[in-house]
Amino acid sequence: MCLAIPGKIVELDSQNALHAVVDVVGVRRKVDLGLLQDEPPVPGDWVLIHVGFAMSKISEADAVDQMRTLTMLGEADAAMEEVRGYGLENDGQDSWGQGPQSGNRS
């Protein structure tokens, strides 16, 4: 599926208004807010993230719901792998996943 991962905005980037730190089940990564320019989220808001970009604001209940959908679909690990991969934290050294389930969906 086009993995859409729910996350909570914890902090806006003071250097770059288009970036924010999100928390996805305890993992924190920077995401791009450029697609939500018309209704910029603030810390505490929940968003759906796709390939490193927040693509829509959602309610907390819907965020919980979405995470459960991913778990039910067996995609939660792939989603967390994707989130951990944002920002090339390991210096561009990608983690080669295990087979067809790894990596993100377009």
Binding site: M1, L48, T69, E82, Y86, S106
Partner: protein, 375 residues
Amino acid sequence: MKFVDEFRAPELIAKAGEEIRRLADPARHYRIMEVCGGHTHAIYRFGLKDLLPANVELIHGPGCPVCVLPMGRIDDGLSLAANPDFIFAAFGDMMRVPGTHGSPLEYKARGMDVRIVYSPADALKLARTNPTKHVMFFAIGFETTAPSTALTLKRAKAEGLPNFSVFCNHVTIIPAIRAILDSPDMRLDGFVGPGHVSTVIGCRPYDWIAMDEGKPVVVSGFEPLDILQSIVMLLRQLRKGEARVENQYKRVVPWEGNRAALRAMAEVFELRPYFEWRGLGFISQSALKIRASYAEWDAEQRFSVPGVRVTDPKAAQCGEVLKGVLKPAQCKLFGRECTPEQPVGALMVSSEGSCAAYYNYEHRKPVTIANAPSN
């Protein structure tokens, strides 16, 4: 969080199943296409077919980006990246998709600099941190992903980043639906509309399917109950002889879509006159190309692309499966020469591909609605 509990409730799922049986006219055979590969995955994963009466048939649609990409495009992208100064960057689900001479992963094993990125923005970052290399991002996806590529291109241009380009394979869902409706061997009664594509394009672009073609469309979420509810909504319309666009996935999909995302796409991309789809052939105005004002960051405008056309391996029936004419297991290679471990066709690679979904869940049958994890 009552809402969440409701979705988990198996009674509701059973009820939806009953309602479907009640609504389905036994004298009719319903053919409903789920457009999105995410829905295909969920349908197999949860064994939803088992909850439907025999006369409600689900047909898998073209909404799996790696599946519809013709092999020639993969070959083209890889041939550009054969230059030792290149880094080939793509999403993880591209890595095992076979080209004529192997997948990106196999090219990596042979020494090509191939990197998985999880975001197009990270491909840009790779370019910044590798100034002596040229980073080419192999972009795929429908309207869900295209806006992110568009913003990434805008950032590259704003920065004047010289060593970054995009090999653009973005496609648009509406012309593919039109091509399917136009094909004479396809009779469909309605559509389960894509969830996340619709967060970007909204629900209006489906209007013509209802108004001109007289077929109902219900934009749907991905939980088992979402999909079953969408089928109920479709059957209700069909029973009343109606054809409307409805939004079952209101909690995520706004009717108007995401205007900022649509603006970014319009600024950076224009429609290609035509584009080849695996299985569906050439479809006019069905894909995005990068505008001339971004030529410097467009791998196709900047480098010379061979433009190869290759036909799929003869015995592979990916085209027929993609069109919904054959079921995955009816392909001669299914489960023998072609498995998720050794895929021949792209439909066996992506978890959104119907062959992989069918192989993993139907063929092996590990999960059904009754024993699905409930957390």
